[in-house]
Symmetry: C2
Subunit: 351 residues, 2 copies
């Protein structure tokens, strides 16, 4: 009888945050790749480009002019998917043709006045400013909106159309699918086990160690046991924290530090500016601020698409779209690879 080895034998793993399963078939990394190769990210981006609508002092598509900002800079998205005043679609009586009003705001937030830096290449105090601004936006928009989604699409491969370091913040009058699902899962876990799911999870991972990528006294980044993207990570505080607004000054500094360490490892993996989509999930806001949200734990998800090299990504297509997500290396293999990478950025080493 052959004994089980996660690296050689396909199996399913349970994702308790989404109540779904992922198929882990690590032996598939052995197949040769004859498919699409990606263009590696542009390496030489000018610090200031007079034609880039995100640079300080420049004019955007709608004629508005950016301030000569020297830190973070927030403005309204010129082509927002959510606007504050859309009329109600009214209701169709049929249960298969249901619609609802969607209202909100979409903001863009530049991280830095320079186009040629990214978070891991910025100074500690500059990254702290980004975190403070994130918290400030959740405070402001979360006063009324039930959900404020902070997310960063990094790299052309992730649909990002501007190399200037920036993220987006979309606030909505509804709880979107993903946080609604995560809310349900965390709530029922809390009811059953009497402890926030992700706080217990962080403790377990800190003990088990095999999926840890970077850690510090306040923070932990792991390739989650149920990761779907090859080098997906979950970043979370050790203390029970509901929302990004609740982080202490010390925890924000700790977060800036661990983000820089994690993102440096990402860039060092294939020695390119690593593409990903990332975003924050915390307890809902607006009307939910008054409710008990003890089941929640603040966390960030990083979803990077690359699999084999700077040019070969994982395609989440046919089987993944129609049946179930499938991964080609174990989360433990991914974590080990990231963990063993240097914490000095390859661009700094070159100089």
């Amino acid at each position: 009888e052959v004994s089980f080895d996660a690296k050689d034998h396909q199996h399913l793993r349970y994702n308790p945050l989404r109540d779904t399963w992922v198929l882990v078939s690590a032996h598939r990394m052995k197949r040769p790749w004859a498919g699409q190769v990606e263009k590696p990210p542009e390496e030489h981006i000018p610090r200031y480009d007079p034609g880039n609508p995100l640079c300080p002092g420049n004019t955007r598509a709608n004629g508005k002019v950016n301030s000569h900002y020297d830190s973070t800079y927030v403005f309204e998205n010129d082509f927002p998917a959510l606007q504050p005043d859309a009329p109600d679609p009214g209701s169709d009586q049929h249960p298969l043709f249901q619609s609802k009003a969607a209202r909100g705001v979409c903001k863009v937030m530049c991280f830095h006045p320079w186009s040629d830096v990214t978070l891991p290449l910025m100074k500690m105090h500059e990254v702290v400013k980004v975190i403070d601004k994130w918290a400030g936006l959740v405070e402001e928009l979360g006063a009324t909106y039930p959900w404020v989604q902070i997310f960063e699409n990094k790299g052309a491969m992730m649909g990002c159309s501007n190399p200037h370091p920036h993220c987006q913040v979309w606030a909505s009058n509804f709880l979107p699918n993903e946080p609604a699902l995560s809310d349900r899962c965390q709530r029922s876990y809390y009811q059953k086990h009497g402890e926030p799911m992700l706080q217990q999870y962080a403790r377990q991972e800190a003990e088990r160690k095999e999926r840890v990528v970077v850690e510090s006294p306040d923070w932990l980044a792991v390739v989650p046991y149920w990761a779907t993207w090859p080098y997906q990570t979950l970043l979370l505080p050790r203390r029970h924290v509901l929302r990004i607004t609740d982080l202490t000054t010390e925890e924000r500094e700790g977060l800036a530090d661990i983000m820089r360490r994690l993102l440096t490892k990402y860039d060092n993996l294939f020695e390119i500016s690593f593409p990903y989509s990332m975003g924050w999930h915390g307890a809902p806001t607006g009307p939910h601020l008054k409710e008990d949200n003890s089941h929640w734990q603040l966390h960030a998800h990083y979803y990077p698409p690359l699999l084999r090299s700077a040019m070969v990504k994982k395609f989440m297509v046919g089987y993944e779209m129609l049946a179930q997500e499938q991964r080609d290396l174990t989360p433990e293999q991914a974590a080990e690879k990231l963990r063993n990478l240097p914490e000095e950025h390859y661009k700094n080493r070159e100089n």
Copy 2:
């Protein structure tokens, strides 16, 4: 007061097959696109390539030799994500570290001996052979496996690494996430409304007409009310049919015809071989063959990634991954565009 217009005002629509919502923000099509452009699909593919492991008579990576097939051809995937004999992962006592055994088979099915054809360019009787083979595989593998997923990844953009016309069939000892969700949704609709959800839906769409792309006495293809991908379609029979194995000879011919018409429109949209992932969902098999599955209705999903042109796709990234899917044109706009395209393939017109 402004009155609601789906083309101008963002709103949410409910997907009853997945119990989720999609954000429709059609006004976003107005924003300029400065992001990644895709390489259009290769136009000149040789009919026979001695180096292509899918062509008749050629040797594959593992040394096996293809027969000199002259119709469809099925063989075992040389790098299967599912194998029949993987050992059980055993169980961790902790609820956050749950795994399960995964067993199954992965097959590849060539549609035609020639590399330079696709389904819409094949003859009617050749497409019927493909459908018969699909049914044959569901019959054979579904005798024991609870789920048999037929899917086609078409085009390099969809992770397909071989231009030869083919699909895959993965059978598993578990019901994957997507069909499990769809099973739950269809079951509860049936319990509440006493009619299969998708049969009722097809009837409604045939009456409403605005989302119909192509129809025939037995079949209907619509851009579903809740479509997420720009030109997503749902193809379904009008009669109550549980599985592809239950289709009559006449319905198989009707299916070949409507598939050719739908896929011709897809190719004509941007005058390229249109990339997509597609797959069939029908009532589960194996042990479920003996159960009452009246709530099920056979259907195929087509998920094509292109949005603006042959070179600009829709990126399902940041907000979509972390919060909720969002689309940039209404399903009615997409259906109208497809409906108005000619049913003669642009490649045949050129000749």
